[in-house]
């Protein structure tokens, strides 16, 4: 019963405040558009029309959700354990490269499902490998992962560039890219739609993480570590091991997001391919207040913005940067909404204590 009460308190208010925030952002953005001489209503009409209401738009929106969901679910594991993985982008690239190479080696020789599984596994391993270095540096030398994972992003950019220009390059093509997986060997569509099954993979990842934290011992322990690391030591929880695991798992998921994009979208890895999901994943996980299931609607919304925004920019003759502006505004308005929500719940309910999502940082911030 208490669990249910908590859940409803958890999921309803944030949804309301998110809606408020989105509305506020659109209003402010609209004023901004009008102030610079554009037709705001027309622009928004196109945005919704193209990102949501048109068939292609909706399909693309759903497709784009997949990597966001996969990467965010991994990031959630790290953040709940108080581990700062700023290296999602690097892990994504290495994972994508690994999976592309694996896929290119296997394609045609093994049944497609086997190849996909192998490729996702390779993506996972690639991401883990890239997270391993910061993890080791942390365990061996106590180096803070904020810096090391950030630095590893730049290293990844260079290492993958080198590999894809050299050893991993498709010799038949001039451009630095791996051998392309033919269309018919890519991820299949979800029956009755044009969306590939990566979306399902993403949803499964989110659900797994939700189960991890809701009903498993390791999830419980990761939460304890995230909230009070010293208490975890005191309780005999293997803190160092679990934190490493959390970092590696989040790296692995980022790598799988790479595999998803290789097998769902691009069919290959190409040089300098860095979609920069790390930022978006961070925003998502925070918007969802570290709550796994809430990530799903936010991923959908971000995806919609990306897809519809492109079209809006062109058709309404608005600089494409408007979408970035709108996203930023949304996050800022969301921040205000979170505040209003807290004020409101303090007045009505008994939630006198601090917002859990903020305390996590305290814990995350301290290193041993």
């Amino acid at each position: 019963m208490t669990e249910r009460a908590r859940l409803s308190g958890m999921s309803l208010t944030p949804l309301v405040s998110s809606l408020v925030a989105i509305l506020m952002a659109f209003v402010i953005g609209g004023i901004f558009l009008e102030a610079t001489g554009k037709d705001a209503l027309e622009a928004y009409r196109i945005l919704i029309d193209r990102g949501l209401l048109s068939n292609t738009g909706l399909t693309e929106t759903l497709k784009k959700m997949a990597p966001l969901l996969i990467a965010s679910s991994g990031l959630l594991v790290a953040l709940r354990a108080g581990v700062w993985n700023i290296g999602i982008d690097g892990q994504f690239m290495v994972g994508a490269l690994f999976s592309a190479v694996t896929g290119a080696a296997l394609v045609g020789d093994v049944p497609d499902p086997v190849m996909w599984i192998a490729a996702f596994a390779a993506g996972f391993i690639g991401g883990v490998a890239w997270a391993l270095i910061p993890a080791l540096l942390r365990v061996r030398f106590g180096l803070n992962e904020i810096i090391t994972t950030l630095m590893m992003n730049y290293v990844a950019l260079n290492v993958t560039a080198w590999l894809v220009k050299g050893p991993a390059k498709d010799p038949k093509i001039v451009a630095p890219q791996t051998r392309q997986i033919p269309l018919e060997h890519r991820l299949p569509k979800i029956p009755g739609s044009d969306v590939h099954i990566g979306l399902l993979v993403g949803l499964v990842c989110i659900i797994l993480v939700a189960i991890l934290f809701r009903s498993t011992v390791p999830g419980f322990m990761l939460d304890v570590i995230g909230r009070n690391r010293r208490a975890a030591v005191h309780a005999g929880i293997p803190v160092a091991t679990l934190m490493v695991v959390a970092l590696l798992v989040s790296g692995g998921f980022a790598g799988m997001a790479g595999a998803n994009d290789v097998f769902g979208v691009q069919g290959l890895f190409k040089g300098n391919w860095n979609p920069g999901y790390g930022f978006t994943a961070f925003a998502l996980v925070y918007l969802a207040r570290l709550n796994s299931l809430l990530i799903v609607p936010f991923a959908f919304f971000f995806s919609f913005l990306l897809v519809g925004g492109d079209s809006m920019a062109r058709r309404a003759d608005v600089p494409t940067y408007f979408i970035e502006l709108l996203e930023g505004l949304m996050l800022l308005c969301f921040a205000v909404a979170v505040y209003l929500e807290r004020r409101w719940s303090q007045r009505t309910a008994r939630a006198a204590s601090s917002d859990p999502a903020t305390t996590s940082l305290a814990v995350a911030g301290e290193s041993e």
Binding site: S215, R230, A231, A235
Partner: protein
């Protein structure tokens, strides 16, 4: 100095007849569901020491925090020297001469002593520490603090920090001094030193408020006593009353105010068991360990704990007791020596192995490492046992079992909480302590190590805790009780060791306990038998 305690209460200064310095009128403060202060009045006169008593969670700290500007009351008024006072922030309070030593430490660990002391004082933009340093030097000497102004506070022991807290407040010159449980972490000698200072301040016309759980301290020291109960003021013993009645009567009166209507469990049913010590449960041989700063904290220490005994460890804070407890619990690596439980060597095997082998450890740092503030009471209750049945099977949690277990503990140990799913942060310190003890005992440890388990507890709860420890020993287990309360150690221990500078300098059997000798050992590490020459 030590005689100070024995001097009769000085006549009350004349100023008392004039204006009260502080009048708190009808103060109410609510935290969510908890009404922490309910229409409380409190009057402070210049030149008096005013004790505020009450069991855990009675609202003492809250009342003081209202006066110090930390909390804004929901209702009520504060008069300073008869004038309505605006105290919106701690700065307002400090500027009007109200200084506070908080229950929870308010020193910044990685600033130096001097930086902590001058923090917040109003001087120029440039930090000119020269003057302050000279003044501080004197005060450090006054407080028998053997540290330099440049030492970072994190390097000091808890007892030392407490004194710095007081220095910090006095440094600014206060007219009203609030002390929230200042003696809980001090040794008897330090307490005397503190009291001497407080009396001096009283002479100078300062209004002193002291919150304490030690009745005798309150009776020794104070001119007036206010008792709170469940957020309400339930009585005041004014100087006339105190002077008119003897100590025992006052005691009874206060206990009645605090717990009236409920059976008082005072008495010595915690006294040690008489069963002969049984087989050895824990063996420490020549254990050494380093402290947080890397300096040796425990040196070559050997000790056997037997079935059925409570082994007390006395010592001035910072002599390695905490580190010893942590080594036994597996939380701190030993640098040499060995540790065996029930004959099994488990040196440096880590917390979980050691806890599985039957060692429980109640830390003195309840919020910092004992619990996870953001989680519920129930989740905290199974923090250490989450991996075991029935709380989980394989990887899977059993939330029902966790909740049921927590409810049982709450019931059994009388933890005051709205429900098992309440966030731990909403509990008062004493109730958190009960929960931590309950958590350890539920694991049925063969050896229970407790570090200051009664710190900050009201008398009843403290008695309850000690009784529980006693029973634990009587059931054939061993208890290692680390405490700075000599009285409770004397009461409950079968054997008593004194730690000094990382070493166990003496062990007394029950019956040989001699307070003076123990005190000497705590302070100097040697027996002052006069023979040594």
């Amino acid at each position: 100095m030590a005689n100070d305690a024995l001097t009769p209460r000085p006549p009350l200064p004349d100023g008392r007849g004039g204006e009260p310095r502080v009048e708190m009128l009808g103060i109410s403060k609510r935290f969510g569901p908890v009404l922490a202060n309910d229409n409380v009045d409190l009057t402070l006169w210049p030149g008096e020491i005013h004790a505020v008593l009450g069991e855990n969670g009675a609202g003492k700290t809250t009342l003081m925090n209202v006066l110090s500007g930390m909390y804004q009351p929901d209702d009520g008024q504060i008069l300073l020297d008869g004038q309505p006072a605006v105290i919106k922030t701690p700065i307002d309070a400090l500027e009007q001469g109200i200084g506070t030593v908080y229950q929870h430490f308010t020193l910044v660990p990685n600033l130096s002593v001097i930086e902590n002391v001058v923090l917040g004082t109003k001087t120029g933009f440039r930090l000119d520490l020269g003057n302050a340093e000279r003044q501080l030097q004197t005060m450090l000497a006054d407080f028998a603090l053997n540290t330099t102004p440049q030492t970072e506070v994190r390097h000091l022991s808890i007892g030392q920090r407490q004194r710095i807290e007081i220095i910090k407040v006095l440094f600014r010159g206060t007219r009203v001094l609030l002390l929230d449980e200042p003696t809980s972490v001090l040794t008897p000698v330090e307490v005397e030193g503190l009291f001497a200072i407080l009396r001096r301040l009283r002479e100078q016309g300062v209004a002193v408020v002291i919150i304490t759980h030690k009745l005798d301290e309150a009776l020794d020291l104070s001119d007036r006593i206010t008792v709170l109960r469940q957020g309400r003021k339930v009585g005041v013993l004014d100087p006339e009353t105190l002077a008119a009645s003897d100590r025992e009567t006052s005691r009874l009166r206060i206990v009645e105010l605090m717990f009236g209507g409920r059976p008082s469990s005072e008495g010595s049913d915690v006294a040690s068991g008489s069963a002969a010590p049984g087989e050895t449960l824990l063996t420490l041989s020549a254990i050494s360990a380093d402290g947080d700063r890397g300096a040796p904290a425990v040196k070559n220490l050997s000790l056997d704990l037997h079935r059925g005994e409570v082994f007390g460890i006395a010592g001035v804070d910072g002599n390695g007791q905490k580190e010893l407890g942590e080594v036994i619990a597996g939380q701190r690596r030993s640098t040499s020596g060995s540790l065996a439980i029930d004959g099994r060597t488990l040196t440096n095997q880590g917390v979980s192995a050691i806890s599985r082998a039957g060692i429980g450890y109640v830390t003195d740092d309840r919020l910092g490492e004992g619990s996870v503030p953001g989680q519920s009471v129930a989740e905290n209750a199974v923090l250490k046992t989450i991996g075991l049945a029935p709380f989980s099977r394989k990887f899977w949690l059993n939330r029902k079992a966790i909740e049921r277990h927590a409810e049982a503990l709450i019931e059994q140990f009388d933890v005051r909480t709205p429900s098992a799913s309440t966030q731990l942060t909403l509990l008062s310190g004493g109730n958190i302590q009960k929960l931590l003890l309950a958590r350890e005992l539920a694991m049925k440890p063969k050896v229970l190590v407790c570090n200051k388990p009664t710190y900050g507890l009201d008398i009843r709860t403290a008695q309850f805790v000690l009784k529980t420890l006693r029973e634990q020993a009587n059931d054939g287990n061993a208890v290692l009780l680390i405490s700075s309360e000599l009285d409770e150690l004397l009461d409950v221990s079968d054997r008593l060791g004194v730690m000094y500078n990382g070493e166990l300098v003496a062990i007394f059997e029950r019956g040989e306990f001699d307070v003076e000798t123990i005190g000497q050992l705590m302070l100097t590490g040697r027996r002052a038998t006069g023979v040594a020459a």
